[in-house]
């Protein structure tokens, strides 16, 4: 809601307050000022008049102040042709003290050119030499200072201004014609300088979507008086120009009609047009402008019908207005020329012939008040198509005056909201109706609208209103106790103090002992009943008391039992381990596409279509239309994005999403790792370091699992495992890894993850470098549940015996099998087995390999002799010979 301060001043005195004071008060009171836009209003010296230093809040500020000396009201007395240019004119202008000849190209002066001395001078905004204004010809807002110049041989040092030049609007088609009563010589800033606050209206502040609404709030926050509104003619419900029938009062609790006769449609006075522009609405004509003006002033949206059209439709019968829900499939051409197909959710304003308007959202084309000489716009300022279909009945159009029937109604806000969304018709009216407009203000809105229309059109207000009010809302009454205020807000207030605060926002308060019984004022819809109502009212107490004034205390309440979050804590430990082995954490979008993930499948695109995904119903782009099923796919994409990096070691921890038809999906958490590129970064003394391979990844995994204190870890080619285990740990089917360079990781007999080199065909689908890409995936639940207790190996006191043995075995014998046999046979005395060489050679024989181990023999309770160590060694060698046909290499 844009609030011109000049308009606010109609309702309250703001003397002694700077613009920033006002903006700050509103902001702290829950009406955040998002921007301050100056249009001539003098700017306050920044910060000088701050009320509270802790509330210093500068605002986004735009616009200019008008120099009081240099920009004044003036009058043009005669418009003369320029001697050398057809498109320029010379004006004989008087600024209150002096006569000037002013050069201008304004097209709206051409009509007056060469007509001699004007019988009624034109009042204009006049800027003198040295004045700072906006450049009317520049794109956007560019400040410029008026300088003396010669244009086509005529000296120019001053100008008559357009709205754009003064920062009022974007309008630069012509100069401003001020209202006839503008006092010549008065500084323009004093006459019409203004500043507009852009106020954010939260849903609980719907009552503030009007000048009166904000003024009421500001007056309460500042403890100032609100100026009385008057009753706009004091119309009573006794009009006889129409009848009303409401079918469903829950959808339409009130409907009010008023009538103005003999309206001459013409532009509104300039000060009205200017205010409308400042609140963001285009002025149309005095009728449309009056409905908008009244809406912005009081918050009640109005709708004007052409009464003559309605009378003609009614034939001999009196005009009767009905409101009802539409029939499914019923059609209505709205005044934007669009034929809309309605549903039974939409409420219509009708007469006995049929639908007239889409209630609370947009008028219908036929009954719209129509000014034949002007373009057609809707009552809310939405521009409509040119070349309209025939609107209304030709027989009643084209008259010099019209009779206007004015509607002010109350609607169910949910219904209006859904209708406005369904038809994609956001408007100032539906903004208000969809947040709730109290039925009690409908007659006030109509009365003001009628008054303004008559005033600006020369029409006559018909006596009385027609008012149907079948469902007046009960304004909630809530009991607030001093104990409630203490219990919830933490402040001690007496019942009198509570009543004083709430009276400021016009709650009716009755104090009885420690209880204040408050009744909601009849214009707000945000206060509930019972405990909810209490919370609503306490919010008002807090706001008016000042949230800044509430003390800060520490919770006296008992600390709940501290249960911790073992899963979260474990995950954080995992992160620390991962970065300690040199991996960098990435975080990816959870939303992806099946196509992107399908790259991880050897089967390619045929396969991915069979995969069930959690699908987004309203994706922002087709590239993010499902939730990921593979965390590894995300980390591979991250690697792809960094393809230029020499070396990458990345990990991500997070959920993947497995669908359950029409139910909430599973969200198992995963860990994925990717490594690729050089093992050691190139440097001045490191050239061509080898690329990461399988064993780099395996080394990281071993460190990680050791860091998690996991014991009994084993690695085996995945083919050795039943297929169902693979489904548990891989989000996608298919061969992700090179079949000869991958392994499944087990803790005990439980699979916790798998890793390996990415399959060459899979790698081809990613834009990755030449180096092998290593990847790993873990299921976090499986990994965490594999945790066992920590058991410390005592640090040995007696000296160890070290010995190396090398055995020759077939290539097919896995190293893990040889090591397992050594450990098994060696028992507790063999405390360490470390493979230090793998050797292949012709002398050993084709299909053979030599595995060299460094063994550590150690006893916990004595110093081992060489002979004892040798005995164990012989047992080991014998076992290896038996089990894997190993030969000791001498």
């Amino acid at each position: 809601m844009k609030l011109p301060l000049s308009w606010l001043k109609d309702y309250m005195d703001i003397d002694g307050l700077s613009v920033e004071d006002i903006a700050r008060t509103l902001t702290f009171g829950g009406l955040e000022v998002e921007e301050i836009r100056y249009a001539g209003w003098p700017m306050s010296a920044s910060g000088a008049k701050d009320m509270h230093s802790s509330q210093r809040h500068e605002f986004k500020t735009e616009g200019i102040a008008w120099d009081r000396e240099k920009i004044v009201v003036a009058e043009i007395r005669e418009v003369m042709p320029h001697p050398n240019a057809d498109r320029l004119t010379l004006c004989d202008l008087y600024d209150g003290t002096q006569q000037h000849t002013v050069l201008t190209g304004a097209p709206n002066l051409f009509d007056y050119k060469g007509k001699g001395k004007l019988p009624k001078p034109l009042k204009v905004a006049y800027a003198k030499e040295g004045a700072t204004i906006y450049d009317g010809h520049a794109e956007g807002l560019v400040l410029t200072m008026l300088k003396r110049a010669k244009i086509r041989g005529v000296e120019s040092y001053s100008m008559v201004c357009s709205e754009k030049e003064l920062g009022i609007s974007e309008e630069h088609e012509g100069i401003i014609f001020l209202d006839d009563d503008a006092p010549v010589g008065m500084p323009l800033a004093d006459y019409m300088g203004d500043v507009v606050l852009d106020v954010k209206i939260n849903p609980n502040m719907a009552r503030c979507a009007s000048v009166l609404g904000i003024a009421r709030e500001l007056a309460a926050l500042l403890k100032r008086d609100l100026r009385s509104l008057g009753d706009f003619g004091g119309l009573k419900a006794k009009g006889d120009f129409a009848t009303i029938e409401i079918t469903d009062p829950t959808l339409n609790p009130r409907f009010v009609l008023g009538l103005v006769r003999d309206v001459v449609i013409k532009p509104s006075p300039y000060h009205v047009q200017r205010r409308l522009k400042m609140v963001g609405v285009r002025p149309i004509n005095n009728i449309v402008d009056a409905t908008n003006y009244a809406m912005f002033e009081l918050g009640e949206p109005l709708h004007a019908f052409d009464y003559d059209v309605l009378k003609e439709r009614a034939g001999k019968k009196p005009v009767k207005i009905l409101t009802r829900v539409a029939k499914d499939g019923e059609k209505l051409t709205t005044l934007d020329g669009v034929e809309r197909t309605l549903t039974s959710m939409n409420v219509l304003v009708c007469d006995e012939k049929g639908a007239l308007s889409l209630a609370g959202v947009m008028g219908g084309a036929e009954s719209e008040v129509y000014d034949a000489s002007k373009e057609v716009l809707d009552a809310k300022g939405i521009e409509t198509k040119e070349g309209q279909p025939t609107i209304g009945k030709a027989s009643v159009r084209g008259k010099s005056t019209v009779n206007v029937l004015l509607e002010g109604a109350a609607w169910n806000f949910i219904n209006i909201r859904r209708t406005a969304r369904q038809h994609n018709l956001p408007s100032e009216a539906s903004f208000r109706f969809s947040r709730g407009v109290h039925p009690a203000i409908a007659d006030k809105g109509v009365s003001l609208g009628l008054k303004l229309m008559a005033e600006w059109s020369g029409g006559t207000v018909a006596p009385g209103l027609v008012d149907s009010y079948p469902l007046p809302p009960k304004d909630p009454t809530v009991d607030v106790t001093t104990r409630d205020v203490k219990r919830i807000l933490g402040i001690e207030l007496s019942a009198q103090q509570i009543a004083e605060l709430l009276s400021r926002v016009e709650f009716e308060c009755n104090v009885k002992g420690e209880t204040v019984t408050v009744t909601t004022p009849p214009y707000r819809m945000d206060i509930g009943e019972g405990v909810v109502g209490l919370a609503d009212v306490l919010e008002e107490v807090a706001r008016l008391y000042g949230i800044e004034n509430i003390p800060t205390t520490n919770m006296a309440d008992a600390l709940p039992p501290q249960v911790g979050n073992p899963v979260h804590e474990w995950e954080e430990r995992l992160r620390d381990l991962l970065i300690s082995v040199g991996l960098t954490e990435v975080v990816s979008y959870r939303m992806t596409s099946a196509e992107k993930e399908s790259r991880l499948l050897s089967g390619g695109s045929e396969t991915h279509q069979q995969i069930e995904y959690v699908r987004i119903a309203n994706p922002i782009t087709p590239e993010r239309n499902v939730l990921r099923r593979s965390l590894l796919a995300c980390v591979l994409e991250a690697a792809e994005k960094n393809v230029r990096a020499e070396s990458l070691a990345l990990f991500e921890i997070g959920a993947i999403f497995l669908p359950h038809k029409n139910e909430l999906p599973d969200e198992p958490r995963k860990l994925a790792l990717v490594m690729t590129g050089r093992r050691i970064a190139s440097a001045w003394d490191v050239k061509d370091s080898p690329a990461y391979d399988f064993y780099d990844m395996k080394g990281r995994i071993e460190l990680l699992l050791a860091g998690l204190q996991l014991s009994n870890v084993s690695y085996a080619p995945p083919a050795a495992l039943p297929k169902k285990h693979r489904d548990d740990v891989s989000a996608v089917e298919g061969q992700v890894y090179h079949p000869g360079k991958c392994a499944e990781i087990k803790v005990g007999d439980k699979v916790v993850g798998q890793f390996g080199e990415i399959h060459p065909l899979v790698k081809e689908r990613y834009e990755l470098g030449a180096s092998p890409v290593l990847a790993a995936e873990f299921d976090l639940a499986a990994l965490m549940s594999a945790q066992s207790g920590f058991s410390l190996t005592p640090v040995a006191e007696f000296p160890p015996v070290y010995e190396d043995i090398a055995v020759i075995v077939d290539e097919t014998v896995p190293a893990a099998r040889v090591e397992g046999l050594i450990r098994q046979t060696g028992g507790k005395t063999v405390t360490d087995v470390r493979l230090f060489d793998v050797y292949r050679d012709e002398k050993i024989g084709a299909g053979k390999k030599s595995l060299a181990y460094s063994l550590t023999y150690q006893s916990p309770d004595k110093t081992l002799t060489d002979a004892e160590a040798a005995a164990i060694r012989n047992k080991i060698v014998k076992r290896l010979e038996q089990e894997v046909k190993a030969k000791l290499r001498s």
Binding site: H57, P203, M555, D557, V563, P665, A681
Partner: protein
Amino acid sequence: MSDQLNDIEKAALDALDAVTSEDALQAWKTAYIGRSSPLMLVFAGLGKLSKEEKPVVGQAANRVKVALEAAFEERTKAVKDAALAKSLEEEQLDVTLPGRPAPRGRLHPSTVQLRRVLDILAEMGFQVYTSREVETDEYNFQLLNFPLHHPAREMQDSFYIEAEGRGDNPILLRTQTSPGQLRAMREYAATNPQNPPPIRIASPGMCYRYEQITARSEIQFNQVEGLAVGENITFADLKGTLTDFARRMFGQHARVRFRADHFPFTEPSAEMDVECFVCGGKGCSVCRRSGWLEILGCGMVHPNVLMNGGYDPKRYTGFAFGMGPERQAMLRYRIEDIRYFWGNDVRFLGQF
């Protein structure tokens, strides 16, 4: 004989003066005090001398031996010192050459900031409570006092999940961590429905909103939600707790202020600003010249939410607050573009 010893001494010392290397030292030692050196030959010849001459020559030879040995020690030290000085002078590295990088992993800046927030809250007794990312409309909105078709829903456009037959309870990506409030309250209340225990939790996690991805808005972001429920919790406690939090997070002198605001699931609601830690409140580009930074939204838990969670609003009160770690990280590290967070560019991630 004493002349001969004097000659030996003089020749030896003269020769020692010319010695400048370890090798020459050894050669000198062999030549002048070694087993077959002239001096040693004098000692060897002592037996052939008369009783009177023997002690005289012996003493004189001994004096020469001690003198030469001392001179040798001195010279040895000098040679070593010279060699060391020479090597120290010669072995000069170009200290400006880059050091060898040791590989180091890094946490994502969101994780870093999440941890900071959660660590501070943990010390204040708020325990981590995590809950699901895909939610029902009921938990994400309805139970949080966002009725169907309520205007407040407009503030949070949602991503919906394809699902049929769910009527007014569609599945969506959570727009806030607040559904965790309900899940926690219901979980706690179930342990003792007549006397539900007090709650103090912090819920971190990813949230999603239907937005265009720009420098300032993202479709996913982390949130940390705090919730305290008990029989004795006031708005003043909310202010005190969050003021303490801000001091821990932004420094002991951080000033905060509270402004009235609106959230459907709290009432009264407020926005907490902290004085801009970049400019100290003078106004700069980070705070957009306002001197203040919007840090979190907060308020007293709405009675409907308490009721939906199984807590009687006549007996229990509570407060809740929510903040965005990415926004905090943006302020802290002057990150101008939120798209960096999920861009996964190691040139960005490597800086933390």
